[in-house]
């Protein structure tokens, strides 16, 4: 483990993926993904529907187990650690879910304070102060007593970010931050991500298929297609890429719609689907 740690950590990488493979049942979704996320950068994982980008994110936060490969996160290979060690890492990692995933039975304030109440022995008054601070950072000051159902889509997402930041994480993950939001609200969420990066120098990983948003917030991008990394680089590098699939994705060139079930499954898995079913 030590020797691995050295090779991986020379690069100042916050997260390192090495030949990561993930399967659901017999269907392999990710076919050997490798890349690094550097400390303090915003990395956007781009990909179409069914490309495996959401599975990749779920694997990064430990919600799915890889079939093989390594995920180095804060110096530990989370593909091979105990549940207790994973919990320690999770306290330093924040995740903002697509729909917000706020607990409907709790107020916004209780949602944001939950990780603090669970994992720290802070006084209620201290938690109250942190809570106000976090809500202020996401532009929701004064909304602590609202229930999630009373918030608009954009506000829910902001509240979810506040909750993800409650424990002062070093890494923040976003799943489709602008999904389901109108362009103006979505731009607000993009701005929030930029602000967080500027203010806290956090390492941020965003999964999205929104090109405009991706190019605005990213330092570097990874383009995933059918479970493989097909391009990785800065926004400028990606823009000048000549890879046909990258061009197709960035230039938004339509693909003939698949209408056959087998073609669809094949498109998703790139395997002969008859084998897996």
């Amino acid at each position: 483990m030590d020797q691995n740690e050295n090779t991986v950590w020379q690069s100042e990488a916050m997260i390192s993926l090495r030949n990561l493979r993930v399967s659901y049942g017999e269907r392999e979704i990710l076919h050997g993904i490798s890349f690094d996320v550097k400390r303090g950068e915003t990395l956007v994982i781009l990909g179409g529907s069914g490309s495996g980008k959401s599975t990749l994110l779920r694997t990064l936060v430990g919600l799915e187990n890889p079939t093989s490969g390594e995920i180095w996160l804060k110096g530990k290979n989370i593909a091979a650690i105990s549940a207790a060690e994973m919990d320690e890492i999770r306290k330093k990692v924040g995740m903002s879910f697509q729909g917000g995933a706020l607990f409907g039975s709790m107020s916004v304030g209780e949602n944001v304070a939950l990780p603090l109440r669970e994992h720290t022995k802070l006084e209620d008054s201290t938690i109250e102060i942190i809570l106000r601070l976090k809500l202020d950072q996401v532009g929701l000051a004064g909304f602590e007593n609202y229930m999630p159902s009373q918030l608009s889509g954009g506000m829910k997402k902001r509240a979810a970010v506040a909750r993800a930041m409650a424990m002062d994480p070093e890494i923040l993950f976003f799943d489709e931050p602008s999904a389901g939001l109108d362009p103006i609200i979505a731009a607000g969420v993009d701005q929030l991500i930029l602000d967080l990066k500027k203010a806290f120098h956090m390492t941020i990983v965003v999964v999205t298929h929104e090109l405009a948003s991706a190019f605005l917030i990213a330092d570097r991008m990874v383009l995933i297609d059918k479970g493989n990394v097909i391009a990785i680089g800065t926004t400028a590098e990606l823009r000048s890429s000549t890879h046909p699939r990258v061009r197709q994705f960035l230039d938004r060139i339509a693909e003939p719609e698949v209408s056959q079930e087998l073609d669809y499954l094949q498109m998703l898995t790139e395997e002969n689907p008859r084998r897996g079913f």
């Binding site: 924040g94 879910f97 995933a101 990780p115 669970e118």
Partner: protein
């Protein structure tokens, strides 16, 4: 051969299901009895609010149903007893069938309808909206946070509700006793109490604790195994109710048989 394979498969599935329920129960027991000594405090507040929901709010409907059941029992047993001029035994017939069997069973069925289904729907919805995932990414164990308080609330409230149901059933019987069998309320209650042994009441309460464990385990397990999409929540809720009713009756049979052979001597 085909049939044998199918039967074998179903038996294995059934055992795997029971295994999953047992796993859930054991983990909840760990968080109740061991967790607090390992720095994972027990959630009294959540357990109390669950107990309110499961227990106290069920009282009006449960009272009404068990009162009627007591009355029905009195009518049905009087139909037979009066042929022998033994209508006075209505009190003991009602009291014994309520405390040994119908009190715990009707309570369990009301609680399945109110709370078993609610557990599955609540946890299933949280699963669909990624709230369970969110708990996990915050290093909060969903079993500790969601399931354990429900187990504790159920195991405490179900016997309490059963005692209440027993009393309401006897009261329902008393209505018939007073109106038709020449009892006074006081004499009816005395006659009921005289006919009961402690083991009648205790066996019913032990059963009700087991019912509580079964209902919570099934409701929470169905919730946690909800797939993606809103219609899956409905499916989980339905399954929670059907499976709970079946398993409660099965547990009832096992324990009734057990008590029968234990008291035989």
């Amino acid at each position: 051969m085909e049939l044998a394979t199918q039967i074998g498969g179903s038996v294995l599935d059934g055992l795997a299901y029971l295994g999953a329920l047992a796993n859930l129960g054991v983990r909840a027991a760990y968080f109740t009895f061991v967790g607090p000594f390992r720095g994972r405090p027990f959630r009294f507040q959540r357990a109390i609010s669950q107990a309110m929901q499961v227990g106290v709010r069920a009282l009006p409907i449960l009272s009404l149903i068990t009162f009627f059941i007591g009355l029905i029992l009195a009518l049905q047993s009087a139909y037979e007893l009066r042929k022998f001029g033994a209508i006075n035994y209505v009190a003991s017939a009602v009291a014994i069938s309520m405390t040994r069997e119908l009190g715990p069973l009707i309570t369990a069925i009301v609680v399945i309808g109110r709370s078993g289904s609610a557990f599955a729907a609540e946890i299933g919805t949280m699963k669909v909206t990624e709230e369970i995932d969110a708990l996990e990414t915050m290093a909060i164990d969903p079993i500790h946070f969601l399931v354990t308080p429900k187990f504790v609330a159920m195991m405490i409230m179900l016997p309490c509700l059963t005692i209440w149901a027993n009393s309401m059933g006897i009261l329902g019987g008393a209505l018939f006793g007073v109106a038709q069998a020449g009892f006074t309320v006081h004499r009816y209650v005395i006659a009921s109490l005289d006919s009961l042994f402690l083991r009648d009441i205790a066996s019913g309460l032990i059963k009700s604790v087991m019912f509580g464990i079964t209902i919570t385990a099934v409701g929470c397990h169905e919730g946690l195994s909800t797939g993606a999409g809103a219609e899956q929540v409905g499916r989980s809720t339905t399954r929670a109710v059907v499976v709970s009713i079946f398993l409660v009756i099965l547990v009832d049979l096992v324990f009734t048989a057990l008590f029968f052979f234990l008291s035989e001597r």
